[in-house]
Point group: C2
Chain length 563, copies 2
Amino acid sequence: MKLHELITASLTGQATLVIKNANVVNVFTNEIIKADVALAEDTIIGVGEGYSAPVEIDAEGAYLCPGFIDAHVHIESSMVIPDSFARVIMPFGTTTIIADPHEIANVAGTAGIRAIYKLSDDLPLRVMFMMPSCVPATPFEHSGATLIAEDMAQFLRKSRMLGLGEVMDCGSAINCSKDMLDKLRLFDGKPIDGHAPLLSGRALNAYRIAGPSTDHECSNFDEVLEKLRTGMKILIRIGSAANNMDEIFREIVARKLPTDNMMFCTDDKHIENIQQEGHINCIARLAVKCGMDPIEAVKMASYNAARAYGLRNIGAIAPGYKGDMVLFKDLKDFEVKQVFTRFGKPYEDKPTPMPIIPPAVFNSVHLPPLSKESFALHAKEVMPVISLIEGQLVNTRKDLPVLRDENGLFISGNGLNKLAVVERHHATGNIGLGILDGFGIKNGAIASTVGHDSHNLVIAGDNDDDMLIAAEALESCGGGFCVVSRGIVLARLPLPIGGIMTDAPVEDVLELQRALLDAAKYIGISASNDPLVTLSFLALPVIPSIRLTDRGLFDSINFQFIE
Amino acid sequence: MKLHELITASLTGQATLVIKNANVVNVFTNEIIKADVALAEDTIIGVGEGYSAPVEIDAEGAYLCPGFIDAHVHIESSMVIPDSFARVIMPFGTTTIIADPHEIANVAGTAGIRAIYKLSDDLPLRVMFMMPSCVPATPFEHSGATLIAEDMAQFLRKSRMLGLGEVMDCGSAINCSKDMLDKLRLFDGKPIDGHAPLLSGRALNAYRIAGPSTDHECSNFDEVLEKLRTGMKILIRIGSAANNMDEIFREIVARKLPTDNMMFCTDDKHIENIQQEGHINCIARLAVKCGMDPIEAVKMASYNAARAYGLRNIGAIAPGYKGDMVLFKDLKDFEVKQVFTRFGKPYEDKPTPMPIIPPAVFNSVHLPPLSKESFALHAKEVMPVISLIEGQLVNTRKDLPVLRDENGLFISGNGLNKLAVVERHHATGNIGLGILDGFGIKNGAIASTVGHDSHNLVIAGDNDDDMLIAAEALESCGGGFCVVSRGIVLARLPLPIGGIMTDAPVEDVLELQRALLDAAKYIGISASNDPLVTLSFLALPVIPSIRLTDRGLFDSINFQFIE
C-alpha cells in the first residue's frame, strides 16, 4: 500500500484485518491495553475500538506483543536453509532475525553472503543481516575466503544489510590493524556488533572507541555491568551451548538496572533445542521466571532490539508499525497462540516452493591427500591439553602427562583423545593436531566440516584409522558430520551447501542428527555436552581459553600459538 | 584526533585533560559513580581511576552529566545571532541545541537557512538543525519565501541537518497534500518532528503514519499519554509563553511511565527568561521537584534527546563519546559549576571575533503604501474576538458586542483593541484586520515584524494613527519591535537581520526590550503575559483557537477562515 493510501485508511479506519479482544502490550508506556488492532495490509493503522474488516480474528484476551527478534544469529548453524529455519522458529513467535552470515562467508566469501541473502528474500520471517567482519575470524587460521573492506562496500546499500557483524578479532581492533580499521570506518554510523568475551578495563574502552557497540558474550553479571557502563548494548544469549543467564537476570532485577539497552539472541541454537525449549520466547520466559517485569521482558525481546539496530517500523504495536506480531496465552510461559508475519497475515506453516540455491555454494570440500600418518602427533611427557567444561563453550588449558608409543607419538588413553583440524577449502595440506580432554572416545572418531568459523575439517578420535575414514566419508558427500567406529561409518549427516548446510527437510536432518548422537554415545562420548556443537567450536580461536586451528594449538586468551 | 590515535590513547590512558573526583552520572546503568573522566582532545577515552594529564580539573564531588540538549528551539526567537545565543545558554549547561531555522526561512528562504547554518559552524555550542517543513506555516498566510521538497534536497547531505522540522501543517499531512508528502518522503528514515496540539484519535494515527514522530505541543497529561502510546517522542517544553508542565511531570511519576521517549525543549524562550530561570537545567529542576528521579531527569535532558535525533556520540559519559559535559553542584537545583564544550574544553565566555553575516538576510521589510484608512475595520454588532488566556499561547474565540462609529467601523473600547497583520516581505498590500481581547491598550500601539511564522508586521492598538506610526517606525529600521503612544515612538528594538534578529550585544537587546516592556505597560498592556511574545504569536495559524493572518481572521481548530 502506498503512503497516501495508508494515511487515508488510518484516518477513515478502513482496515483489511482486525485482531479483536487482545491485551495489547504497549512498549512505549509499559501498559497492557485491552483493544482491537487494525491493519491495512502489512501495516498497523490503529489500536482501539470500533474497527471492522473483511478478516477478523478473535484474540480471546490473549497478549498481543510485537513479534520477537533474535538480535544475533547465524542461520547456517541450524544446518538448514533460511526457509526451513524460518519454519522452525516462527511458531515460537520470532518474526525477525538479525543474521550474521559469517559461516557461509568463511566458506564461500561474498558469493556465499549473496546466496543466503537471496534465499531469505521472500520469507514470512523478516531476515536482516550484518556484514561479517572477521573472515577469517583471526589471522591464526585459514578459511575458504578472506573479506576485506573493499569486498564489503557492495553490500552497504542493500536494504537488509544493517551494519557490521561481530568484531571477534578484538586484537586487530584494539591494535589498530589497517584492515580492521578500514572495515570499521566503512560502517561508521551504522550498528557494529562486538564479540568481546571477558574484555575489560582500558582494552574494553579502546574496543568501544574502535566502533563495536554491542556484546553477546557476557558470561557473568559483572561483565554485563562493566560493558553496559561503556554504552555497549547487551545481547543476552541463550543458544545451545553457552548458558549462564539466570544469575545475570536476577542481578539485573535486583539492581533495577535499566533494560533499554538489553535484548535477546540465540547466536547458535540447534533445531532440536529450539523445538524442545522454544526460541526467543524461551529467553523471555527465563527472564520473567528470574523476576523480570513481563513487559520489560517483552521489550527486550522485541522493541529494544529493533531500536538498537535502527529498525524503525517494527518492535511496537502502534500506527505505522508493520504487522509482525505474536499472540501469547500469557506473559509467563510465553506459549504462542498465533503469529502474524511481516506481511501482517496469520502465520501458516508452508514451505517456499523449490528455492533455487546458487551453485557457488556447492562443492566446497577440497582435502589434501591424507593417510594415517597425517595424524601422527609427536608428544612430550606432559602436554598442553584442551579441557572441556560441562555446559560451556569456554574451555580450560590443562597440562597433563600423556601416553606415548615407542616413537614418542601420542596415544589416546586416560580419557584423552586426539584432535585434528584439516584445512579443507583449498587442499593446502595444513593440519593442526592437539589433545582433547573430556570427550572420552573409545574405538572411533567423530568428524565435522562445520568448524567455526573457518569451517575446516575437525576430527576427534582415539585412533588414526577411524579418523582417516571419517575424513574420507565427509569429503565424499560434500561435507557434514559423521561418526566412525572400527572402520565403519555409523552415522552421517551430509551438508552439501558449503559443507555446513542442507536443503533437506528439517525432519530428515533431525533424524540423522539423532543417529549421530546415538553413534557418538556408542563410541563413548559423554552426553552432557552436545558433541556436535562442542566439536564445531573447538577450532574457534576467539573463545577462551585454548583452541586448535589448522595452523596449530592456540592460546585464545593471549592470542598466540602454543609452543 | 584520528581514530587510531584515539584507540591508542584509550588503551594506554594517555589523556589531555582529566576531570578528577566527579560523581559521574551513567545514563546506561542509572548509577552515579565516583570516578575521574579522561579526555583525549574532544573525546572521552575512559571513566575510572588512575588517569593523569597535562590539564587536571578537580570536580570536588560535583555531579558530572552529559551536556544538556535543547531538543527543539528556534534560535531566531532569541532575537540574537547564534554566537550570542550560545553565550546565553551555555552557562546553564546546555551544550547542544537542535534548531529549526524556520523563522529565518520564512523571511529569506534557503538563503536564510544557509546563513544561520554558517553562523553556527564554529561555536563551542553544538548546533544541529532540522529542515523547516512548513514555509509558510500554512497555505493561509503569505511569508517571505516558500520552500518545497525540491528546495530541501540540497540540505540532505549537510552533516548537521538531522531531519525534517516540525510539521505544523497537520492538515496537509493527514489529507495527503502532494507538496507535504513529497517533503515527508524526502526525509523518510530520518527524524521528523511533529507539532500537533490537541490532535487525537484517528487523525493522530494518520499523522503518525505520515511521518512525524515527535511532539512538543502537549498541554496536558492525557495528551502526553495518547501521543506516547502511538510511539511519538514527547518533548516537554518550557519556554517563555507556554507553561503547564507540573501536572504532566507529576502524572508521569505517579504512573511510572517510562521516560526514555521523553526529552526537554524550550522552543521559544526569551533571553531575559533564560537569564532569570535557566535553560534546559530549569526543566530538569522542575521535573525533580515534581518527583522525577534525578537520573531520569538528567537522561531526559541529554541522552534521550541524543538518541531520538540519532546523535550517536553525545548524551553519555563513556569511552568514545564527545566531551560535551556539565558539572552540577547537585541534581536538585541543577546549579552549574562548570561546563565542558563540544571541544572537550572548559567553557569560557568569549565572543566569536566578528561573525560575517551574509547580506541576503538584511533589508527584508517591504511595506505597501499605508495610511490610517488601511486599518479601517467594518464591524457588525457582535464580532468574533481573539481572546487571550493568561500564561498560555493557546487562546479562545469569543463573540462579543463591539463599539462602532457612525460608519460602522470598529472602535477600541470595553477592553477590546484592534489588531492588524500587514504582509511585509513583498509589499503585496495584503492586510488582515481583527479584534483583540486581553491586551487593554489605551492611547497607543505596539508593533512587531516578528510574527510567527510568516513574520509579517503585526500591530495592536487602540487608534489607527499610532498603528500607522508604529508601522513606519519599523519599516525605517529594517524591522523589530516598537511601542508608540500619542504619535511618539516610546521604545524601539531594531532587528535588521530578516526583521527578526540582530547582531547587537545581548545586553543592548535586553535593555531595549525592557524599555519596550515599560512602554507597553505605559500604554496599558497587562504585565501577566509577555506582550512581545503574545503579539508575535497572534498571527500563527497552527495554534488554537483563533488567529489573524495577512489574509484575515482564522479558525485554527477547523483550519478555515472566519466569515
